[in-house]
């Protein structure tokens, strides 16, 4: 074995089980990789080195005693929007600088209970609002494939860490594309589960009807393994669905003969990068070659997903972020009076994009504008969901590009918020409908930047997505390419 950081999660698990490698050496090599490369990549906000080595030592002991928990000894990183007891959780915001939660998010707790080795917390756009991680109040995260490009966002740190071998897998969160888009930009697998499939307890709220945690990994099998652990009903989240969690590994057969794959014509638009269209169409041809039946479908309201999302998510955010009042946690700028303290704390504590979205959401909910904006958006959301309901009468899974373009240079979209929002056009519809979506590496553009194939399934139908993604991956080599780090 040359370099343990090049292993997939599934490979590492097998080697740990056979005791050909130890959790301690795996953790140490991963920490060494972080020490060597995170200066240039900037994926981590907090590295919990001591904790990682303690977790690894405990895992080695447990493995020796015959323990077989699914994440035992596996080094993972966690997006800084998921609460971790005693470990600073900033959401990429200065307003939460120094905040150490006194409870742990259920998704993280489940990974801990399954034996994970905690590496630390990953950079993100402030409060998960952004598509490039440039909105982090702390640092820049670069794309491991080209450090002059953004890693995508908001889970940019989670995607970059996996691409750079600085974690075997990570948790991100997705509200409008924040797992899938950085997955595509960094050439890794990013899986947004169905809304309600994974508990939101301890996931610091942005858009409560949309937020969902999910894995970023090197392979589809690795994503399935993490989903298996984090999925399921949680009494602490009333919107987590009490439905059975299937055995996701059963979907990893490599056989997609007869699978009906829908290709929505609305996802191939003017202005998309030709390399992205070409790679996506080649991937669809590959699915066909594997025995899938390709069906042209229509999701007619796709173009309305962007305005719907940028009304509903900021509206929910404007309510959720009211909790940052300088009293119970985080920053406080005390002006000596109540209203002044609120306004100064929030005015100085939040960054530019967060304030912009709070303003947008407040406006959309305000008297006189509610019906025209928020009410209207909720009605069109019904139509977006209906598009998918009707499509899944005809097909088992939908295949489309994850993004219209590959990773853009730093600063390219920062002066024009609408241009930045347009980066999410292909990921927003699945978010609005609450259905699962996954980005799988499907090629590179002429500048060597990764391209992602998006696979979308019906609500609580992650198996179809994993089945198609795994079969595609087995037939191609894209996921084996790794970036050359400086």
């Amino acid at each position: 074995m040359t370099n343990l950081t090049e292993l997939t999660l599934t490979q590492a698990r097998a080697l740990l089980k056979k005791r050909e490698i130890s959790a301690t050496e795996l953790a140490q090599e991963t920490l060494d990789q972080i020490a060597a490369h995170d200066g240039a990549i900037g994926a981590y906000l907090t590295v919990t080195g001591e904790r990682a080595l303690a977790d690894a030592a405990a895992a080695d002991k447990a493995i020796a005693a015959g323990d077989d928990r699914p994440m035992l000894g596996i080094p993972l990183g966690i997006k800084d929007v998921l609460s971790t007891t005693g470990i600073e959780t900033t959401c990429g915001s200065k307003i939460l600088e120094g905040y150490k939660p006194v409870y742990t998010a259920t998704s993280v707790k489940k990974l801990e209970d399954a034996g994970m080795v905690m590496l630390g917390k990953l950079n993100m756009d402030e409060f998960a609002m952004g598509s490039s991680t440039e909105n982090s109040a702390y640092k820049r995260t670069t794309n491991p494939w080209n450090t002059g490009r953004v890693p995508g966002g908001s889970s940019g740190g989670s995607a970059a860490a996996v691409a750079a071998g600085m974690a075997l897998g990570t948790l991100g969160t997705d509200t409008g594309g924040s797992i899938r888009q950085p997955g595509a930009f960094c050439g890794v697998v990013g899986l947004k589960p169905s809304y309600g499939r994974v508990s939101r307890y301890g996931l610091v709220a942005f858009g409560s009807s949309l937020d969902v945690a999910g894995p970023l990994t090197k392979t589809v099998a690795d994503a399935a393994a993490i989903l298996q652990v984090i999925a399921g009903h949680d009494p602490l989240d009333a919107t987590s669905m009490d439905v059975p969690v299937p055995d996701y590994s059963a979907a990893l057969t490599g056989d997609i003969r007869g699978l009906r794959v829908g290709v929505p014509k609305e996802y191939f638009i003017d202005g998309m990068q030709p390399d992205v269209e070409r790679s996506t169409r080649e991937a669809i041809a590959q699915l066909k070659a594997l025995g899938a039946e390709i069906v042209e479908i229509s999701l007619p309201h796709t173009e309305y997903a962007l305005p719907v999302y940028y009304i509903i998510a900021p509206a929910e955010a404007s309510a959720n972020l009211a909790r940052y009042d300088g009293i119970r946690f985080g920053k406080r700028i005390d002006t000596g009076d109540m209203w002044g303290t609120y306004k100064a704390t929030r005015g100085q504590g939040f960054g530019s994009e967060v304030k912009r979205r709070i303003m947008l959401g407040t406006y959309a909910l305000s008297a006189g504008y509610y019906d025209a904006y928020y009410g209207k958006a909720q009605q069109v959301r019904t139509l977006l969901k209906r598009d998918f309901d009707e499509a899944f009468q005809q097909v088992d899974v939908i295949a489309a590009p994850t993004t219209p373009k590959t990773a853009f240079p730093f600063g390219a979209n920062t002066s024009d918020p609408l241009q930045m929002y347009l980066e999410d056009v292909f990921t927003l519809p699945a978010s609005m409908a609450g259905v699962p979506g996954m980005s799988v590496p499907c090629g590179f553009d002429q500048d060597g930047l990764p391209i992602g194939l998006q696979l979308i399934g019906p609500a609580f139908g992650e198996e179809n997505v994993l089945r198609a993604g795994h079969a595609y991956e087995q037939a191609t080599e894209w996921h084996r390419r790794v970036p050359v780090l400086g």
Partner: protein
């Protein structure tokens, strides 16, 4: 959709955000641009369409009222920027 500086100040007041004069200018322009784009939704007739607040087929979710361990006051106030004993310290709410 043109949002005036006055309207921006009003929204900021509702949202309890202190904005600098530069921010008021910036947001007036940017929000006008984004809200203009939102007008696209008016193309669709939704008069017969029910709104979706949540995609899940859930209504009220009930559980039995069983006492469970809770955070201690010390834990609850652990992150407070200002506290006194186990209590949050706040500014006066009522004026003299």
């Amino acid at each position: 959709m043109e949002l005036s500086r006055e309207e921006v100040r009003k929204i900021a007041e509702l949202a309890k955000l202190d904005l600098t004069e530069d921010e008021v200018d910036l947001y007036a322009g940017q929000l006008s641009h984004v809200l203009g784009y939102f007008r696209k939704l008016q193309e669709i007739d939704t008069s017969a369409i029910a709104p979706t607040a949540s995609v899940l087929p859930l209504k009220n979710v009930f559980r039995d009222d069983v006492p469970q361990p809770a955070l201690t006051p010390k834990q609850v106030t652990a992150n407070a920027p200002q506290s006194l004993g186990d209590q949050f310290l706040v500014n006066d709410v009522f004026e003299d």
